[in-house]
C-alpha cells in the first residue's frame, strides 16, 4: 500500500448485552474516498459508525476489533482520548437535522462549537469562520442566519448548518449517518452535491450511511453492504450495481422501482423480515430469506474476492449463481 488508509477497521464487533449486533466487520476508507455503508434497519450500520466516533453508550459495547485513523490506532473505548479526535480528525452528522441542533443556541455558535471546544480559535475568530462556513455550504445571508435559532431555519438549511459544523473542523473523516433521509428530493440532491464538492475541495474522506440506493449511486465511490451485523459484499460502486455477487445485494437492487420496466407489475420485495438479534441463524445470516440457501450455508461463508482483482469481495457460498436470481 502506497499511503495509509484514512480509516481502517478490522474485525469490529459490537454487542448489546449478550447479543452480538455487529460481528467482525472489516473495511477501509482511502483518502478522498466516499464509501457508502448500506443495509436495512437493524443491520448494524449506525452502530458501526457510532463506534468509530467512540460514541457507543449504555449497554452497547464494542467487544472486539481495531480501528486505525491514518495509521494511528484508535482507542475506541477511551472517551477522553476519543473526545480529542471528535471535532478535529473525526466529524459526524446525523439524520433529523432540526432535532440535531440545540434549540436554544444560535446556529453560528453551533457551527463554531468544535473550534471553541478544542481551543482552536478565539470566540470572534471562530464566529467569523462559522459565518464563512455557512456561506460555503450555500446559506444565503450567512451573517444574519448565523444569529438565528434552528427553529427559524428550514430542515434543508439545518442540514447545511450541521454539515458546516462538521466541516469547519476540517476532519480527515466525515461520517454522515443518513444525511438526506429527512429531506425532500431536491434538497437531497443539493446536499449530496455539496458533500462531493467538499470532498474535492478539502480532501476529506467520507463514510456515508444510508439505505437509499439512489444516494449510493449518486455519491459513493465504493459500497459496503451490511446484513445482520456483517459485511456481505463490498465493491466499487459501478461494479456493485452492474454485477452484484451476493444474493442479498442482488435482491436489494431488485427492489428499486424502475422507470423502464413493465407497468402494473407488483413491486418486488425480499420475502421475510430481518430476524431479531436473538434469532440470527448460524452460518450465513441471510440464509433464512435466501432463495439460493443450501445446507452448506449453515457454516459461515468467508468474505472472499470474486471476479478479477481483489476489489470486489462477497461472503456467499453461491456467489457464482447470483446472476440468475430475480
Amino acid at each position: 500500500m502506497a499511503e495509509a488508509k484514512t480509516l481502517d477497521i478490522r474485525n469490529l464487533s459490537i454487542g448489546v448485552g449478550e447479543h452480538s449486533v455487529v460481528d467482525g466487520v472489516d473495511f477501509s476508507i482511502g483518502q478522498r474516498e466516499i464509501v457508502a455503508l448500506v443495509g436495512e434497519s437493524g443491520s448494524g450500520k449506525s452502530l458501526t459508525a457510532l463506534s468509530i466516533m467512540g460514541l457507543l453508550s449504555g449497554s452497547v459495547r464494542q467487544t472486539d476489533g481495531t480501528a486505525t485513523l491514518e495509521g494511528e490506532q484508535l482507542d475506541l473505548g477511551n472517551d477522553t482520548a476519543m473526545q480529542k479526535l471528535r471535532g478535529t480528525s473525526l466529524s459526524m452528522i446525523f439524520q433529523e437535522p432540526v432535532a440535531s441542533l440545540n434549540p436554544l443556541l444560535s446556529v453560528g455558535a453551533q457551527v463554531a462549537e468544535s473550534l471553541i471546544v478544542h481551543g482552536r480559535a478565539t470566540k470572534a475568530d471562530a464566529w467569523d469562520r462559522a459565518v464563512g462556513m455557512l456561506r460555503d455550504v450555500g446559506i444565503p445571508a450567512p451573517e444574519q442566519r448565523a444569529r438565528q435559532l434552528p427553529s427559524e431555519l428550514s430542515g434543508g438549511m439545518c442540514q447545511r448548518v450541521m454539515i458546516a459544523s462538521a466541516l469547519i473542523a476540517e476532519p480527515r473523516l466525515l461520517i454522515a449517518d443518513e444525511p438526506t433521509t429527512a429531506l425532500d428530493v431536491t434538497i437531497q440532491a443539493q446536499i449530496l452535491h455539496l458533500m462531493r464538492r467538499l470532498r474535492d475541495e478539502t480532501d476529506t474522506s467520507v463514510l456515508i450511511i444510508t439505505h437509499d440506493m439512489g444516494v449510493v449511486a449518486s455519491v459513493a465511490d465504493r459500497v459496503c453492504v451490511m446484513y445482520g451485523g456483517r459485511i456481505v459484499e463490498q465493491a466499487e460502486v459501478h461494479e456493485l450495481f452492474a454485477a452484484p455477487r451476493h444474493p442479498y445485494t442482488k435482491l436489494l437492487l431488485a427492489t428499486i422501482p424502475r422507470m423502464d420496466g413493465a407497468r402494473k407489475t407488483e413491486l418486488f420485495s425480499i420475502s421475510g423480515m430481518v430476524p431479531d438479534v436473538s434469532a440470527w441463524p448460524e452460518g450465513c445470516r441471510f440464509r433464512t430469506r435466501c432463495p439460493l440457501a443450501t445446507d452448506h450455508c449453515a457454516s459461515r461463508p468467508p468474505l472472499e474476492p470474486v471476479g478479477e482483482g481483489n476489489d470486489h469481495v462477497t461472503a456467499c457460498w453461491h456467489s457464482d449463481k447470483v446472476e440468475g436470481l430475480a
Binding site: G58, Q83, L85, M92, F94, N102, L105, A166
Partner: protein
C-alpha cells in the same frame, strides 16, 4: 421593551373561567420585593425601638409622639415597621435557600441522569431518603443541631430541599441526553461539562423554574414555621413567623400583632404559588 409591554398586557388579560389575572399576583410579589429592599426608607420607625409606655396599642393610635398605623407589639415597637423589615427576612431566606438548594439539586440530578451507574444509585437513593422524611421535621432537627440563626436557616432549608430539584433535573436530563443535539455536541468534541451546562441545562430550565417558584412559597412558610418555633431568625430581628408566634399569646387582647404579619405571609405565599401554577401551565405545551 415592546415585548415587555406585551408580556405585561398578557398578564392582565382576563382569565378563562374568570380567574384573577396573574399580573395581580406578580404586582403583589414585586411590591413586596421593593418594600423589602427599600425597608429603611419606607419604614416610619426603627423596628427595634421599644416604647414600654406604648405597648399593645391598637392600629391608628398615637402614644408618646409615635403614630402606630398598624398598632404596636408587646414591647411597644411599631408593628408596621416590623412587618416591613420582616419582609426582608422572609424574602432573603427564601431567595437564598432556593438558589442554594437549586444549585445543589440541579447539579446532582443532572450528574445522576447523565453519568448513570453508581452516581445515579447514590444520588437518587439519597433523594428517596430525604423525601421520605417530612421536610419540616428534618429542618427542625437540623436547626436544633446546628443552632438557630439566619445563615443556619438558609443552610438547613437548602440541605432539606435539594432533592426536589434533583429529582426533576434527573428525569429531564435522562430525556434530554438522548436528544440528537446532545449526540451532535458530543460528536463535535464537547466534553461532559460542556454538554451538561451548555447543551442540557438550558433545555431543562423551564420545568426547574416551575419547581423553584413553588419551592419559593414553601421556603417562606418554612422560615416562618422555624421562626414561629423559635428556631429561625433570633429576636429582636423582625420576622413574620416570630411575630406570629408572639402575637399568638395576645390574640384575644391584641389581635393586630399576629394578624398583619399573617396576612402578609398569606399574600406572599398565595402570589408565589399562583405564579408558579400559571408558569407551569404556560411552559407546558400541552396545556397551552
Amino acid at each position: 421593551m415592546i415585548a415587555l409591554t406585551a408580556t405585561w398586557r398578557r398578564m392582565f388579560r382576563p382569565q378563562a373561567g374568570g380567574g384573577v389575572p396573574v399580573g395581580v399576583f406578580v404586582t403583589i410579589l414585586a411590591m413586596m420585593v421593593i418594600v423589602a429592599i427599600l425597608a429603611p426608607l419606607i419604614a416610619p420607625y426603627d423596628p427595634n425601638t421599644q416604647n414600654l409606655l406604648g405597648r399593645l396599642k391598637p392600629p391608628g393610635t398615637e402614644a408618646r409622639g409615635t403614630y402606630y398605623l398598624l398598632g404596636s407589639d408587646e414591647l411597644g415597637r411599631d408593628l408596621l415597621s416590623r412587618v416591613i423589615y420582616g419582609a426582608r427576612v422572609s424574602l432573603s431566606v427564601a431567595v437564598l435557600s432556593v438558589i442554594l438548594s437549586g444549585a445543589v439539586g440541579i447539579t446532582l440530578g443532572m450528574l445522576a441522569g447523565y453519568r448513570g451507574g453508581w452516581v445515579e444509585v447514590v444520588v437518587m437513593r439519597l433523594v428517596d431518603i430525604f423525601l421520605s422524611i417530612p421536610a419540616i421535621l428534618l429542618a427542625i432537627i437540623m436547626v436544633a443541631v446546628l443552632g438557630p440563626g439566619f445563615v443556619n436557616v438558609v443552610l438547613v432549608l437548602a440541605l432539606t430541599r435539594w432533592p426536589r430539584y434533583a429529582r426533576v433535573a434527573y428525569g429531564q436530563t435522562l430525556a434530554v441526553s438522548n436528544q440528537p443535539y446532545v449526540r451532535l455536541a458530543k460528536a463535535m468534541g464537547a466534553g461532559p461539562f460542556r454538554v451538561l451546562f451548555l447543551h442540557i441545562l438550558p433545555n431543562i430550565l423551564a420545568p426547574l423554574a416551575v419547581v423553584a417558584t413553588l419551592e419559593f412559597g414553601l421556603m417562606v412558610l418554612f422560615e416562618a414555621g422555624l421562626s414561629f418555633l423559635g428556631l429561625g431568625v433570633q429576636p429582636p430581628t423582625a420576622s413574620w413567623g416570630a411575630m406570629l408566634s408572639v402575637g399568638r399569646n395576645y390574640v384575644s387582647t391584641a389581635w393586630w400583632i399576629a394578624t398583619f404579619p399573617g396576612l402578609c405571609l398569606f399574600l406572599l405565599v398565595l402570589s408565589v404559588n399562583l405564579i408558579g401554577d400559571r408558569l407551569s401551565a404556560y411552559l407546558n405545551p400541552k396545556s397551552r
